[in-house]
Symmetry: C2
Subunit: 345 residues, 2 copies
């Protein structure tokens, strides 16, 4: 019998304003033996993502809210360590699931959306939580379908060194854009953006007037703006769009912890004169693109056209700290928490 102890992070209270460690609690549980059709999965990595902040509020949204006193959920990758009779996975199988924020769980396939994965040799299994997973798919659908990117488009990306942003930048270059500019919050991140092919990078914390900085970076205007940030970035992008430009609204991390409605872009009038399209999206509505995404990403990785950064915190107990760090820009690239042995390396 395998070890059936697991530790998990529960929502202790709903955050008001900036999320803090007090909103979480660590608990230990003993899992049952996997029943018919079930497996016991030990996670190697879990992901923290900005959208989870919304689920901590008690409100209707595109995903139901987390419940107080219950373990949070989110993406994870791990390995099957015990299988009940008739289970569709075998001991040793690598799986991705929605069973994050815990070290281990018992589920059948559909529960927690558990699916088998075949790790790509030389690429860490945790990439299924980043460039090969939901953030990568978000970048792919957002740039190509929502942003209707064409090779002649110049592209501006906010939070460009992040899990989604960095993939957007590299897809745009791989598909032939002549001008891709990203913004990030440190000179180190900006230097890396140039290494991965960005024509320019804007440090939004030191550039002064953001509108002017974006204008200098795009003398001929922006074709597609990929928005992860909202707020001042959205207004600066709107003010520098080309006619028929598109703004793919992926997220607005600037305001996820706001307690008052933040000011909106004061230049919405430009949508009329420039015939702009601002379109929001949720990646889960675009999984019909997943086969194309996996094929293209594998090819780009093989061709050396797709790299990414990871910031890894060790131990399930540090998951709240990792999550909070997202809103302070403490991650460089994909923010992950290692919660068990890295079985696929």
């Amino acid at each position: 019998m395998s070890n059936r102890k697991s530790r998990e992070i529960r929502l202790k209270s709903r955050p008001a304003g900036m999320v803090s460690p007090e909103n979480f609690e660590l608990a230990e549980v003993t899992l049952p033996a996997p029943g018919p059709g079930q497996v016991l999965v030990r996670n190697s990595y879990m992901t923290v993502d900005p959208y989870m902040r919304g689920r901590m509020m008690d409100r209707q949204s595109y995903v139901p809210p987390f419940q107080i006193g219950e373990a949070l959920t989110g993406g994870a990758v791990g390995q099957v360590v015990e299988a009940g009779p008739g289970a569709q996975f075998q001991v040793g199988d690598h799986v991705q699931s929605f069973g994050g924020w815990r070290e281990a769980f018992v589920a059948n396939g559909p529960e927690l959306m558990t699916q088998k994965i075949d790790p790509i040799p030389g690429v860490g299994i945790q990439s299924y939580l980043g460039s090969l997973g939901m953030p990568g798919m978000t970048a792919y659908a957002g740039l190509l379908r929502i942003g209707e990117f064409k090779p002649e488009d110049s592209v501006f990306v906010s939070a460009a060194s992040g899990a989604v942003g960095a993939v957007v930048c590299q897809i745009a270059k791989a598909k032939g854009s002549k001008r891709v500019v990203g913004s990030a919050g440190s000179d180190e991140k900006c230097a890396w953006l140039k290494q991965i092919g960005c024509d320019e990078a804007i440090n939004y914390k030191t550039c002064g007037d953001l509108h002017a900085a974006v204008a200098r970076a795009f003398p001929d205007g922006i074709g597609v703006y990929f928005d992860n940030v909202g707020g001042a970035h959205l207004e600066a992008a709107l003010g520098n769009m080309r006619q028929f430009g598109r703004l793919a609204e992926c997220g607005m991390i600037e305001q996820y912890n706001a307690t008052e409605p933040p000011p909106g872009p004061r230049n919405m009038i430009l949508t009329v004169g420039l015939s702009l399209t601002i379109r929001g999206f949720i990646v889960s509505n675009h999984y019909d693109m997943a086969p194309d995404f996996m094929r293209d990403m594998a090819a780009w990785i093989k061709a050396g056209k797709m790299t990414w950064k990871e910031t890894i915190y060790d131990g399930i107990e540090r998951a709240p700290e990792a999550f909070i760090g997202l809103f302070k820009g403490e991650n460089f690239g994909k923010m992950l928490v290692r919660v068990g042995p890295d079985t696929a390396v």
Copy 2:
């Protein structure tokens, strides 16, 4: 030889804030005899439209700015009263043109976009400046192409009794929408909106909290919002959209006379969670739809499904007053200026 005197309205100074009578001047000119290929046109009606406010500013936009000391231009309908040798129009022909803000002009066909029209019996020639003209075409392209209207969509229209808005409401009903609600600035306008088929009408001046009023009018949310107003209307609409809803940005009359950038919608984050599309447009990019528009409008008029209101000011000297009245809601329906004999009646 016909009378070749004409009076015209010139831009005297660029408005700062609300446009005022001092920004205009009336001048009298004597036109030349029409040369080869040219005709002398006497206008019956000219139109004043909100977008002209933008052309009074000295800034780059989708149409070049008006020049100080020169006659303004805009839509007009009239009749050819004198023709030079080889002209493509004959004396007596009815024409629409961009030669408004004046009583008469000399031009060949392409100049001032002069085109022959065949008045529909029983429908005043001035309808070519309204429901059968640019405003009607704006409604048609904006609702059907930009708003991607489908019969199952509920539709919210701001400035709904205006030249564009009233056509939007009636197209939506003619195409099968089960719920069309318009907003307007008087009880009289709201009563008329119900007469032309709106399921409800909101008097935005007396309804109190606009967001709440829109929520009551759309318990199941808005499918398509047709925006002529911007500002508080846009924020209220955004806050009541259905998933995958579309916002057709046609104009933002609320802010055309603003001297400071107005506050933007504070709820742009909803574009992400609800997968909304906000799309601006300029009707001139959609004239490929003109044949369909003319066919459909003629059919709807014949079937009694399309009516409209007109507010007519008499005399070219009153054109500035009519234009200024647009921003004060003094028009009920299409705002027109009668500048000559109504030759087609």
